[in-house]
């Protein structure tokens, strides 16, 4: 069971977290967005081997944050609070 560092609460058991998708999957707004672009936003995921930037939420405190981790070694490289801005 992994330990994830919540930027607000510190290292906590992975069972307290939910995955929130790839970081940087910016939402294209508008009814006219090309369908391929929209489908990409909805369904296409990088699934990288190695370093991944992901959004997670710590369900205990409710805060979303960006975590970088290695999908092979499961090493956590960084975790940063959203800081109020749109997560890019």
């Amino acid at each position: 069971m992994q330990l994830f560092p919540c930027p607000f609460c510190g290292p906590r058991d992975e069972t307290e977290f939910h995955y929130g998708g790839d970081a940087g999957n910016a939402r294209p707004d508008g009814a006219e967005v090309p369908i391929e672009r929209w489908a990409g936003y909805l369904y296409l995921r990088g699934n990288p081997k190695g370093t991944a930037r992901e959004i997670w939420v710590h369900t205990s405190c409710g805060e979303f944050f960006v975590m970088e981790r290695d999908t092979v070694t499961h090493k956590v490289l960084s975790s940063t609070a959203f800081g109020g801005e749109h997560a890019a």
Binding site: M1, Q2, L3, E14, H18, G20, R27, P28, D29, G30, A31, V33, I35, W38, Y41, L42, I55, V57, T59, G62, E63, F64, T73, H74, F82, G84, E85, H86, A87
Partner: protein
Amino acid sequence: MTASRLATGGSAIDRSRPIRFSFDGASVGGFAGDTIASALLANDVAIVGRSFKYHRPRGIWGAGVEEPNALVDIGGPQATPNTRATTEPARDGLVAKSVNATPNAQADRNAFLDRFSRFIPAAFYYKTFMWPDWHMFEPRIRAMAGLGKVDTHWTSPGTADQINHYCDVLVVGAGPAGLAAARLAAGAGLCVTLVDDQHKPGGSLGHRACEIGGKPASMWIEETVAELTAGGHLILPATTAFGIYDHNLVGLNQRHFDGRRDTLWRVRPRHIVLATGAIERPLPFANNDLPGILSADAALAYLRRHAVLVGRRVVVATNNDSAYGVAAALAEAGADATLVDIRRDGMPNATAKARLVKGRALAAAKGRLRVEGVTLDDGTRLDADCVLVSGGWTPTIHLFGQAKGKLAWSEARAAFLPGDPVDGISVAGAAAGSVSLSEVFASSEKAVASHGKTKAALPLSTGPEATGGIVAAWPVPGSKGRIWIDYQNDVTVKDVELAARENFVSVEHLKRYTTLGMATDQGKTSNLPGLALMAGITGRAVPEVGTTTYRPPFTPVPLASFAGARAGELMAPVRRLPLESVHRESGAVFQEYGGWLRPAHYGGRGVDADRAIQDEALRARRSVALFDGSTLGKIEVIGPKAAEFVDFLYYNTMSTLKPGRCRYGFMLSENGVVFDDGVLVRLDEHRFVVSCSSSHVAAVHARLEEWRQDRFGRDAVYIHNATSEMATLTVSGPNAHKLLETVDLGLSLDDADLPHMAIGHGFYGGDAVRIARVSFTGDRSYEISIRADRAEPLWAHLRQVGQAFDAVVIGLEALMILRAEKGFIVIGKDTDGTTLPHDLGSEGPRVKRQTEYVGRRSLFTEEASRGDRLQLVGLTVPSGEAPLPTGAHGIKREGDRLHSQGFVTSSYHSPTLGRPIALGLIERGAARHGETIEIQHLGKVRTAMITAPCAFDPAGERLHA
């Protein structure tokens, strides 16, 4: 084999405490400190089980966790199947039964299978019973194979404790390496936890006699344990570290022998020292699975710990130095011992305490139900009642492998050793390939060296040191006779050869094809010989073949340990209404709905539920109903961007809502599918309340938070889930207004002041109440929200004044009928994971809205615009007929073929209308009102007419009546 208990000795047993237990129905005597295995050996019980596939007689092989043969089912309150007799303490009154044997291990009626063994190679059953269908044969074949039996009627007498634990250093294994590492780490000021699967610390020191610092090893063990205990360190005996998980979480299973269930420990150490020792391997020769053939080291353990001499005429076969001490000890104890060493020169500088045959290997063991002799590879016959074998040592690197540690092949040790280090883990002692005590201690020093200077010092070993000389003796392809590789799964040399012929040459394929290394022992004794044989067959080196993946658990862990207290309500806690006890007193029958325990109906358990529900629904329409709607979501959205926020979250424009008013709307997912529906209340300019579905509160709250943090920012919107703060009591029906006028709520209930879809604020008994004119029944309704802890007097008051109006308290089932009469949907019941808002008749925002909202783009895809989408409709059957079954499909015929054209989502008998009503999602349904379609369920076809969803008061006059 004629094993016996010696008159003296046995460090583990207490001769003053005799015990008695039953094995396969026979009474067996022993002493406290015996394992089931040692007691059986002391009583010369040779056959303790039957093999998995061929039902061959099998005896005890080992003295610890590696045991492949001696599995027993323990009965009684502590019932556990497939327990290793070698690690299970013998205790008074214990009931043990051999596995895979009928009626017992001695006289097994399936033993005939062994005579057909040559026709039952690996994968025989799968290859043979293919026609017409494997599943026809599977139950009988499965019943014949297998190990212990699970008693399906057994229930756990208690729950297992689970403990989360933290320490600086976790040392796994309390043999010489582990004790030394623990002592050194403690001396460096670290907090140490030491775990060991034995009852007493010491490991191999318990039977491999030696001196440490000029004193008997037992004294050094005592001294070390005393020092650790005095230092406040934790020592857990009878505890197995069964797994290392991500980020070095270690799982421990602690056994108790006082009636308690095992305890599961989750340990997060900063550093792990694996001092897990090594396991002795068998040697390959024909019939090497006969009872009476044991691991040499196990025989020494039984002699020293339990004073059991495993045989009188003993042949000790070896390819390495470690068996010499065993032969000497057995000879000293009175056995006639012959040592057969495969090596031409034997062990250098060995002092002959037993007869020694050098440069010879065993070709075969003789005997039918137990070993009676051996044949050497030169044809020499030796009589023997017991054969001890040592095929070398396999370091116990399972935990290291689980932690993704890479292994390195050592030709000198003929074994895999831990390779490149893993963060936070070091390996010491025999697990790291150390043999002599000074090597072991040096490896312990190295294992904890990175943690700073230690004040503790290890004594120099003074006794004679063990040596690790070995010449590999792997199974050889083409060998004569039946040579067992895996005792537990009945895998022989021929099975591995067959696997190779059929190109299952990868170790992972070999494992699945032959079952080598599977089941409860996970190949602790068989994996290395098996893959070495595969290497030999395919002309590869052993490390080229590699090992299978190491996975937890190292030894079986009871599921009760993992479950812990998580059973029943602790597994899935229900949410409870603040007025639950009041409802119970009123005869409410409770059911769980979306995680909430709610009254299904009233009238008590004994009542006819259908009639009670029909009666409640009917009376609700006639006069007035009281309903506890406290589960309804109440999530507040507050802040300068609150209006913009709800606009984005809802399909419907919400920012145009006036303060004090409510609006019904949908929330969509980004794929356009309707996620939730409900009423949004605008309390004031910057404050809204999201009334989401009861079962969706957590999910809606999470969704609001996600968009708030991701798109709007923490300072622009604030979200507060107030669902459980307030109870919501609903008064609904033609007499709702009249009833409420008899209660002083401190506000005007006139329609001019409080029209439909408006809210008002008042007081009840000094507490603020919020009253919403919102209706889920189609009748004039008032939802009164009040502090949850003050709801009881108001509820009692409403019930009391309700008597004059023949008010009825209704449960959720009646409400479901009332809403279905109106065609009001329940998300997830009347919709599924494809339903878009316009499928439910809500086309307006899709066509008109110009601003952005969640799911918008998805409403304009090709799929979303299809003409044949399933749309919400009502379905009417002639009165007098039974309601349609929910889930029944609307069908259309194309020639002989039937196609679904949608399905029934809700179906009830309406007491008010006196006929069945139903809702459904039907292809192009919105344009087909009046059309009759066929509905099929379980082969029966009925007809129904498609109508508008609303079956009752379509003009909505009752909202204002």
